[in-house]
Amino acid sequence: MSEHEQYAEDLALYALGALQGEERVKIDQHLATCASCRLELEQLRGDTALLAMSTAGPRAPQRARQRLLDAVAREPRPVAQVVTRRGWWGWLGWAATAAVVIFALSLWRENSGLKQSLASASSRAAESTRELEELRRIAAPIIQPEAQRVTLVAAKAPPQPQGKAFYLRNRGSLVFLANNMPPLPPQKAYELWLIPTSGNPIPAGVFKPDARGNASVVNPPLATGTEAKAFAITVEDEAGSAAPTTPAVMVGAGE
């Protein structure tokens, strides 16, 4: 019995919230280190959502709607910055948007910290807003739905698989975009690995490309502070693996 099979039944109970005490702690600890079981847990939760759908019942009474809207009206919230999303390329557009938001937030925070002793709160806010606007302007060709997306390669060369990883070590945030990825054999998936400066490769998400060969991984669970020497991709079973089991098909070091 493999390590993951050993946890399989308990993961189902965990997804249902039926595990208590030590058993629950044990699974929590395992999940913290096992991408494959995290993926399986997500799938099991998706399964439980299906179960929820087997039920049907009367609509909530009309008063419930009014009660909610009254409560909402009593709790107005300040308007937040919103990045709109209208992606004809679906997940890839979403991933690009997420990348922009992550980097914008990071820049905003760092910027705020540096200027804290120099500028007033209002001037910091104004500066941050300007920077966000600038980032949006720069990112517009990536996130706007009407933008064309073209990869240039040497003339007459066939399209090559490409991947771009955007990684913020101090936040443990990672956005990965890929294109021209070759189709996978059945039951297989690509797995992204963060190669730390020392130690074993760390699972950084399992993905399958769409029909056009595009794929993305947005913010897989990663510990903060891990310095990445490189990123790599291997082909693994679709549930993912805790360690690479095949040679890397793509590798890239920091630019």
Binding site: A8, E9, D10, L11, A12, L13, A15, L16, G17, A18, L19, Q20, L39, L41, E42, Q43, L44, R45, G46, D47, T48, A49, L50, L51, A52, M53, S54, T55, A56, G57, P58, R59, A60, P61, A64, R65, R67, L68, L69, A71, V72, A73, E75, P76, R77, P78, V79, A80, V82, T84, R85, W94, A98, V218, N219
Partner: protein, 168 residues
């Protein structure tokens, strides 16, 4: 709509309610069996999302399915009069049907019921006790007189049967 919530748009909240309240209410009512208690959970779920729209993002799955799962979890906590067991922030699910439209919901519900109908009565019963009554595997084993390991296996196998039915 979630972007609208983030922007503090009350109209977006109304739209979200109109689209998903039937799912949330049906799930809460099935667990709690009481319209008042189900309505309370319904209010709680939507208000929580209004107060903190960042609880949901597209990486957590489809909005309808995510709402169904967190509603079930909250209703079970309420049924068993216990503190919330699972942080909403921790609930991530693989992409499942969005269930925004009545027709889509009815189609999925019919298919799920069909799949449940193919399970043996003991398997279906174990799964339903765990899901709708929030019973632990030990409680189910006590109630049915079956070995603990058998109950565990039945619950997982039942979920996998459902998954496979929607993969084909």
């Amino acid at each position: 709509m979630v972007a609208g919530l983030k922007a503090g748009d009350q109209g977006a909240m109304a739209e979200l309610y109109d689209r998903y309240s039937s799912v949330v209410h049906a799930v809460a009512l099935r667990v709690l069996g009481d319209t008042g208690a189900a309505e309370d959970v319904l209010q709680e779920i939507f208000l929580q999302l209004w107060r903190n729209p960042s609880l949901f993002d597209a990486s957590r799955g489809s909005l309808g399915s995510w709402l169904a799962v967190i509603t079930r979890n909250r209703a079970i906590d309420s049924l068993r009069k216990r503190r919330p067991e699972t942080d909403i922030e921790d609930v991530v699910l693989s992409v499942a049907p969005d269930l925004a439209g009545e027709a889509e919901r009815a189609r999925v519900a019919e298919k799920v019921r069909g799949v449940m109908g193919t399970m043996t009565p003991v398997q279906r019963s174990a799964l339903e006790m765990a899901y709708w009554e929030g019973m632990s595997h030990s409680e189910i084993a006590d109630k049915t007189g079956e070995p603990l390991g058998t109950v565990k296996t039945r619950i997982r196998a039942g979920l996998i049967v459902l998954r496979k039915a929607f993969q084909t």
